[in-house]
Every structure is written in structure tokens, then in C-alpha cells.
């Protein structure tokens, strides 16, 4: 198994008779990977399985060639910011990050320095000496993030990390995630806010009721959904003429003039063939201003794969 992959091999987890996840086989490369699915779809279970907080009922999991049964190596590599919004009682933000850094074997001075650096990365210096019990939800989220990244992990697992953050901090946090991913690390993020996933992710894993329904780059996943032809909006002059020109080709299944009369919404079975065709059409004298796919985002893909109702749950 590659030392650069997070690998799930036929993993199932049952809580008694209740299904957590079932028959999951995944090979996750470095970059930002989002686990997408409604509440109860198995996102947190997958993350807890990855970090050894849960043990699989069947199958095996390795993270860059290591397993949680060897915690001394494993957790120097992995950082996990879980969704549990709870802390050891009576700690300040700094003490919280510092105390768990001491478990890595760092000296007092070293642990203090690293803790402050980490707190600075999440912009919480001013509140660091206050008790965590008095923090707002967003501050608690950030101090947990500081604790998860303090040891500079190669694999960072974040369960709903943007929950409770205000827009400015949210943007800063997303930038932080991107910096992490640029360095060739793994970032596994769970979210049920689909537009957020679109912005952040290099690849997605779509989950529904404990099953992985699709994985990979979102555009590639979209192209594989044959029963729902891709929709593309073309802004142009003479949309009726363009429609009749496009209909000469089999892969175009539908063409509708936009309600404002300034464009055409087409459905095609093959995006690749469509874009080739479009080059020829443009050379044929049509004034094409913009071309944009309208349903290759996570939301649409999720809706097509598991039904709109589930996607918006």
C-alpha cells in the first residue's frame, strides 16, 4: 500500500445492529478531500475510524501506511479536530493546547513556543489566557483547530471545521487549509454545506446512509452520471439558430432558449464532444460570449446520485 494514501479496504462499522458505514473501499490521495453527505450519512464514523476512535467491524484502514494501533507514530502524523465541542474542565485556551503538546514529549519551553505559534495561526492570541469555558462557539472551534494542527501533522482530519465561524475567520481558515494542502498534505474535511465543499475541495467522497456513492474530482464524477445529461448555459446572439445547428449532433439531447432571449441552455450526453463542437460553431460565425456548466457542482451531483431530498436534508 502506498505510503502516501489513506486507504480503506472493505471497511464496515456497525453500532450493534445499526449501520455506521458499509463496505467502504477508498484510496485518498494528498490534497483537500471533502466527505459530503447529510447528517447520519457516515462522515463522522469514517473520520473516527480513520483515527482509531472507532474500530471497524470488518476491513482495515491505513493512513500513509500506519494504523492507530501504533499511536506513538500514528498521531505524530495525524491531527484530528473532532466535532465534540467539549474540553477538559478548567483550562485556558493556551493550557489546553500546551498540555496535550506535553504528551508528545516536548519540554516546557518547546511546548509553550509551539502552542503559541499554533494559537497565532488561528488568530486567538488575545483570548488564549482566558478559560475555554467562556469562549464563543467560533473561538472553541478555533482553539480545537489550533490543538489539532499544533504538532504540524501530515494528515489533518477536520469534522465540520467551519461551523460557527464568522465570514472573515471562515475565509482565513479556508486559506489556512489551502496552505496546508499546497505543502502536499492530506486534509480530510467533512461538511454538509455543499457550496463550501465546492470552494475548498480537490476531491469529494459522497456518502449516503453509510455507503460511498461516488468519489473523485467533482467534474469527473459529474461526467459519469449518464442518466442526467450535463447542462450548459451558452450566452450568445441568435440562440434559436445555434440550437438548430447543435441539434444536428446526437449527443445534444435538449436545447432551450433562455427566458431572457440572450442565451441557450443545452443538455448533452458528452461534455467533451460538446466542447469540440462548440469550437467549430464559434468559427461558423456565432457570437458566443460565455459558456458555463450549470450542474457540475457538488450540490447537483449529490442530487442526481441520491435524490434531491437527501441532498438538501
Amino acid at each position: 500500500m502506498s505510503a502516501d494514501l489513506i486507504a480503506f479496504d472493505n471497511v464496515s462499522k456497525f453500532y450493534g445492529e445499526v449501520l455506521g458505514v458499509n463496505r467502504v473501499t477508498l484510496h485518498i490521495p494528498p490534497g483537500i478531500t471533502s466527505l459530503v453527505g447529510p447528517n447520519g450519512s457516515g462522515k463522522t464514523t469514517l473520520m473516527n475510524l480513520m483515527t482509531g476512535l472507532l474500530r471497524p467491524t470488518r476491513g482495515s484502514i491505513t493512513v500513509c501506511g500506519l494504523t492507530p494501533s501504533d499511536p506513538e507514530k500514528f498521531f505524530r502524523l495525524v491531527g484530528y479536530c473532532s466535532q465534540f465541542d467539549s474540553f477538559p474542565k478548567g483550562f485556558t485556551g493556551f493550557e489546553f493546547v500546551y498540555s496535550f503538546l506535553r504528551l508528545f514529549g516536548h519540554s516546557h519551553a518547546e511546548a509553550s513556543r509551539i502552542a503559541w505559534e499554533s494559537i497565532e495561526r488561528v488568530g486567538l492570541q488575545e483570548a488564549a489566557k482566558r478559560k475555554v469555558a467562556g469562549y464563543s462557539k467560533g473561538m472553541r472551534q478555533r482553539i480545537r483547530l489550533a490543538q489539532a494542527i499544533a504538532h504540524d501533522p501530515r494528515v489533518l482530519i477536520l469534522d465540520e471545521p467551519l461551523n460557527g465561524l464568522d465570514p472573515l475567520v471562515r475565509a482565513e481558515t479556508i486559506a489556512l487549509f489551502r496552505d496546508f494542502a499546497k505543502e502536499g498534505r492530506h486534509l480530510i474535511i467533512s461538511s454538509h454545506v455543499l457550496h463550501e465543499v465546492d470552494i475548498i475541495s480537490d476531491q469529494v467522497i459522497l456518502l449516503s446512509s453509510g455507503y460511498v456513492v461516488a468519489e473523485g474530482q467533482i467534474k469527473a464524477v459529474r461526467e459519469e452520471i449518464e442518466e442526467h445529461p450535463m447542462q450548459i448555459l451558452i450566452r450568445c446572439t441568435r440562440p434559436q439558430a445555434l440550437a438548430s445547428r447543435l441539434f444536428e449532433h446526437d449527443h445534444i439531447v435538449e436545447a432551450k432558449v433562455h427566458s431572457d432571449g440572450g442565451g441557450l441552455l443545452i443538455k448533452t450526453k458528452s461534455a467533451d464532444q460538446f466542447y469540440l463542437l462548440l469550437n467549430q460553431v464559434a468559427l461558423g460565425g456565432f457570437d458566443i460570449q460565455t459558456v458555463a456548466p450549470v450542474d457540475d457542482d457538488v450540490n447537483s451531483v449529490y442530487g442526481y446520485l441520491i435524490g434531491q431530498e437527501e441532498a438538501t436534508r
Partner: protein, 357 residues
């Protein structure tokens, strides 16, 4: 031993010691530890007060002796009592029923005290109370230590501290931070256990030290010096401290392990309390699977069981087959080590499922 493991154990202990000593919930442990200190302080104050009072009564009637006081018995008349002991130092008329006056006379030789109860002219009862003596207090201390301090205070203190080491963090949903650190779970168990042991030993051994000091405070300094320097005072004190620390060790491992397996702390607490109480009547083999079996063999003062002692208390004091001190210590260490090994094994497979807690 790997130096990293040592530093990690210390890091876990630092986190846990703070919680064990300064957590708001720890208030109950301090209260448990303080309870016998308060009882002995009350006893010491009472004895000191009574001593002063008896000395005053003795001064009023110098002819009274302990021997004479013991001669007073029911059926004697007021004149006979007065002839033997003289006029009472205190005389209280308690009531008058059906024309019969009831009186309570008090005598003292300066240390012992006699109360004589009259109905009309006749003695109906007496109550002779000897001066507070050292041997009696030593036995009282031993009885309080065995029956109440070990079986209730230390026992329930350990229930609280050690069960909370894992179970409390599961309820607070903060245990996962340990399980996400690069620390072997055996080290987490060891660090938490040592922190619990240090906390309970410090709290309860301090309590023993205070109890011992306060109980003996009202005796004459010369008596105390003789007991401590030339008698068995230091041996007794150190034995009580050692037994207390061993009790924390034994009960600590029991409840740490129970906290990993059972959700409701009441179940193991009550079950083990019953098991410890009936230890004296268990078959010889089963008796060894108990903490109190070893502790009782290490206590420095034997408690005499009088005929008048009620059966439940007599059962608690029953030590049919005491073992040699070194066997008791080794036995307790072996039982504790076995339980810790079970706890460590359980921690290795521990999963976090707070929703089910």
C-alpha cells in the same frame, strides 16, 4: 524504561492531578476525609471540657476515690451514699412523678465520674465513667479507622476519584484528546492511575495525620512523648498511613478497572462494598480476592470483639485468618497489578462512542 514514556506518564499525571485536586467535584472527597477529623476534634474538646469539670467536682469533695465510687449500687439509700462519698458535687432534680422525686447526683475524684440516679430515697441506677484513657482511645481510633475510615471514607473517596478517571471523561466528552495523542494507551492508564493514587493518598493520609494528632492532643504531653518516642506511637502512625496508602492503591485499581467496563458507578461500588463486608465469612480461597482481607492484617491495633457488639459490626471486625504483613503487602500488590493489567488491556480496545454514554 523508555524516557519518552516517563515524560508522557508525567504529562498525563499533571493533567489529572489538577483535575483530582482542584475540580469542584473534589469537594466531596475533602469532606469525606475531613469528617473523622471533625469527630475526633469534637471528642478532644469534649474530653478537655469534662476533665476541667471533673477536677472542679473532685476539689469540692476530696474524700471521693474511684474505689468508693464503684461501691455504689442500686438499692442503696441517700444516707448510705452520702455516708460513703459525702455530699454530691452536683445535685439535679430531674422530675417529680406520682409524688416521687427523681434526682441525679454527681461525684468525681478529679478524673473518673459517677452519676447516681435516685427515685425517692433509693438508688435506681448508676453510671460510672472512667477518665479518658490512652489505651481506650487507641482502640477507638483503630475501630473508627477500620469500620468507618477504610470502609466508607477511603472506599467511597476512591470510588469517586478512580471511576471518574475514565468514566467522568466519557461523560464530559473529553477522553478522545488522550486517545488522539501519540501515547500508548497503557501509558494513559498508568498516568491516570498514578495521579488518582497520589491525590487520594495525599488527601486521606493527611486526614489520618490530623486525626491522630487531634485525638491525642488532649493527653498529657509526657504521656504522648512516652507513646511516640518510647512506645509504639510512630509504628502505629506509620502503619495507619501505610494501610491508608495501600487501601487507595487497592480500591483505586478496582474502581479504575470498573470505570472502564461499567457505565453506572453505583453498581460496582455497592457490589464491592457488600463483597468486602462479607469477607470474613467467605471461603478461604475467595477471601483472598479482596482488598480488606489484606488491609486488616496490616492494621497495628487489634479490636477486641465484646459479647455486646451487634452482629453486623462483629462481622466487619472478623479476621479469621490474618496473614503475615509481607504476604499482605505482596498479595495486595499482586491483586492491584492484575487489575491494572486488565484495565490496560481494556483501554487498548477502548472506542469513543459518547452518544451511547
Amino acid at each position: 524504561m523508555n524516557p519518552l514514556w516517563l515524560s508522557q506518564t508525567w504529562a498525563v499525571m499533571r493533567l489529572e492531578l489538577k483535575k483530582s485536586f482542584f475540580n469542584r467535584r473534589s469537594f466531596w472527597i475533602y469532606l469525606l476525609a475531613l469528617a473523622p477529623v471533625l469527630i475526633f476534634a469534637g471528642h478532644a474538646l469534649d474530653v478537655s471540657g469534662r476533665r476541667g469539670h471533673r477536677q472542679q467536682m473532685g476539689a469540692r469533695n476530696p474524700g471521693v476515690t474511684a474505689e468508693k465510687m464503684r461501691q455504689v449500687h442500686s438499692g442503696m439509700t441517700r444516707d448510705e451514699v452520702t455516708k460513703l462519698l459525702g455530699p454530691p458535687a452536683e445535685k439535679i432534680t430531674t422530675s417529680r412523678r406520682r409524688g416521687v422525686e427523681r434526682q441525679n447526683w454527681a461525684y468525681s475524684d478529679g478524673s473518673a465520674e459517677l452519676r447516681v440516679y435516685f427515685a425517692g430515697d433509693e438508688v435506681r441506677g448508676t453510671n460510672y465513667r472512667d477518665a479518658c484513657n490512652f489505651g481506650e482511645d487507641t482502640i477507638i481510633f483503630a475501630a473508627v479507622f477500620q469500620f468507618f475510615f477504610l470502609r466508607l471514607m477511603v472506599f467511597f473517596g476512591c470510588v469517586f476519584v478512580f471511576i471518574n478517571l475514565f468514566r467522568g471523561e466519557m461523560l464530559d466528552r473529553s477522553l478522545h484528546y488522550y486517545l488522539l495523542a501519540p501515547v500508548r494507551r497503557e501509558i494513559v492508564v498508568a498516568g491516570k492511575f498514578l495521579a488518582g493514587l497520589v491525590a487520594t493518598s495525599v488527601i486521606f493520609c493527611t486526614s489520618i495525620g490530623l486525626q491522630f494528632t487531634i485525638l491525642n492532643m488532649h493527653f498529657d504531653p509526657q504521656v504522648m512523648e512516652q507513646y511516640m518516642a518510647r512506645g509504639s506511637g510512630w509504628h502505629h502512625l506509620l502503619s495507619y498511613l501505610g494501610v491508608t496508602a495501600l487501601a487507595c492503591l487497592g480500591y483505586g485499581t478496582v474502581f479504575l478497572t470498573a470505570g472502564l467496563f461499567l457505565r453506572n458507578p453505583l453498581i460496582p461500588a455497592v457490589t464491592i462494598e457488600i463483597w468486602e463486608s462479607i469477607n470474613g465469612i467467605l471461603p478461604a480461597m475467595l477471601r483472598k480476592f479482596s482488598v480488606i482481607y489484606y488491609l486488616r492484617s496490616l492494621t497495628p491495633v487489634e479490636i477486641p470483639i465484646d459479647r455486646g457488639v451487634p452482629p453486623p459490626l462483629a462481622l466487619l471486625a472478623l479476621n479469621v485468618e490474618p496473614v503475615a504483613p509481607y504476604i499482605a503487602v505482596i498479595g495486595l500488590l499482586v491483586v492491584s497489578a492484575a487489575l491494572l493489567a486488565i484495565a490496560a488491556r481494556s483501554a487498548r480496545t477502548l472506542q469513543i462512542n459518547y452518544g451511547a454514554e
